[in-house]
C-alpha cells in the first residue's frame, strides 16, 4: 500500500479521529482513492482503528459493495 497523501488517508492511518472528522467536515470525499486505489476506509481498516472506521462509515464510506437489492446485481 502506497503512503497516504490525502488528509483523510493520513488521519485514518494515524488513527487521528479529530483530524479525520475535520477533514470530513471540510468536505473531503470520503471514498476518494489514492493512486493505488486505496481509500481512507481501507487505511483505517488496515490499522485496525474502530473509531475512525466507524466515523468513515457513518460519513458514508463504502465498504466495497452495494447491498443486494433492487437493481443491484453481481455479474
Amino acid at each position: 500500500m502506497s503512503a497516504p497523501t490525502f488528509p483523510l488517508h493520513e488521519a485514518a492511518t494515524a488513527r487521528n479521529l479529530p483530524a479525520l472528522l475535520l477533514a470530513l467536515r471540510a468536505g473531503f470525499p470520503v471514498d476518494h482513492a489514492n493512486g493505488a486505489g486505496v481509500t481512507a476506509l481501507m487505511c483505517s481498516a488496515l490499522v485496525g482503528c474502530a473509531e475512525t472506521t466507524e466515523a468513515l462509515l457513518e460519513a458514508g464510506a463504502s465498504v466495497g459493495y452495494a447491498h443486494w437489492g433492487v437493481g443491484s446485481q453481481l455479474r
Binding site: D31, G37, T39, L41, V47, C49, S62, Y65, S72, R75
Partner: protein, 336 residues
Amino acid sequence: MWGTLIGVSGHNCAEHSSCRLQDRRGWTALFHCAKSGTPQVAKLLVAHGAALLLRDQAGKMAYDVASESGRLAVRTLLRPDAANLLLSDTVGAELARKKLAAELGLQQLGVVPATAQTTAPDGPSDGQTQLAPPAVVTATSLFVDNSVLHPHLRPQLAGVEHVPYMVAMSDKARWLACAPYTMIRNLKSGVLFDCKLCCWQFARPRTYVKVTENALEVNNPLVCCPCKCAIVDAHTKIHFDKMLSITPFRAKRCSQYHMCCGACEPCGQVVAFAPRPSCANETCLLCCPCCFTTVPGLEDAASFAAFINVQKEEFVKRTGAQEGSCFECFCFNKNA
C-alpha cells in the same frame, strides 16, 4: 475487475471514481482489515454490508487473507457464513434499522402508529382487534397489515428475538419478515418476492420471531423461519435437536442434512452447515429448506413455485453456480 461491479443504479463502476471500492489488488477495506485489522473493525465492515465472498485478483477472499496473516479472531468473523453470526450483533441491527429508516424517510424505525392497538401478550386475535389505518406508512405498519403485533415484537425493543409469543401476521408481513430490509425495500419499489434465494445474500438482523400457523402450515409442519435463514454451527445443531424434542409437532428434520426452523422457536435459527451428497463441492452452505420447499403462509403455492423457478435461473446467472450445485445453497470450494 472494475467492470464486474455493477452498482445499484446500474452504471458501470469502472467509470465512476466514487465506486472504485477496491484497490489495485482488488482488495476492499475488508481485505485490509483481514491483513492487519481488528475484530472490531471487521464487525463494523461486515455490519455495513462488506462482501465476505468477494475475491481479489488473486482469487482470495478476505477470509483467506486473514488466514495467511494469522489473524484468527478476524478470520472467524470473515467466514463466509459469518454474516449470520453477526445478525444478532447490536451494531448490525441498529445500522440496518437506520438504513431502512432512511430509505423510508422515517425518523425512527419501528414505531407503531399511535392509532394502532394491540392485544394481550398471549392472545393474538383473529381480526377481533383491528388496527386503525396508520397516518403514515411506516415499516412497522407493513408488518401489522391485517394482523396484530404484540408490543414485545416491535423491532425497536431489545430482546425481541426471544419473545415466546406468537403473533398473527399477514402473508405479506411474513414475506417481509423473512428479509426485512430487502423485502421492504422491494415493496417500496413495487417489486415483491425479489429475494428468498439464499441466506447469505440477504442476511439481516431479524426483527420478528414467530407467526401463527395457518392452514398450510397445519398441513405441513415445516414452518419457515419468519425472520431469516441462518447457517448453524454445531452448537446450534445441538440447540435444534433440543428444541426438536420439545416441540416435535412443529419440527421436522427434512433430511440428513437439512433441518427446519420450526423447532427453533426461541432462537429462529435455521438450517445446516454440512456437506451435501449431491454437491460436488467440498463445502456447502445449506439454507433453510423450507424457504424453498414450503412457503410460510403463502396461499398460492403454485405461483410461488413458478416464481422461484424464475429466480433460480437468475440466481444461477448471478452467482455463476455450476450445473449440479444446489440452488438452495451457495456452494464454494475452500480450495478454489
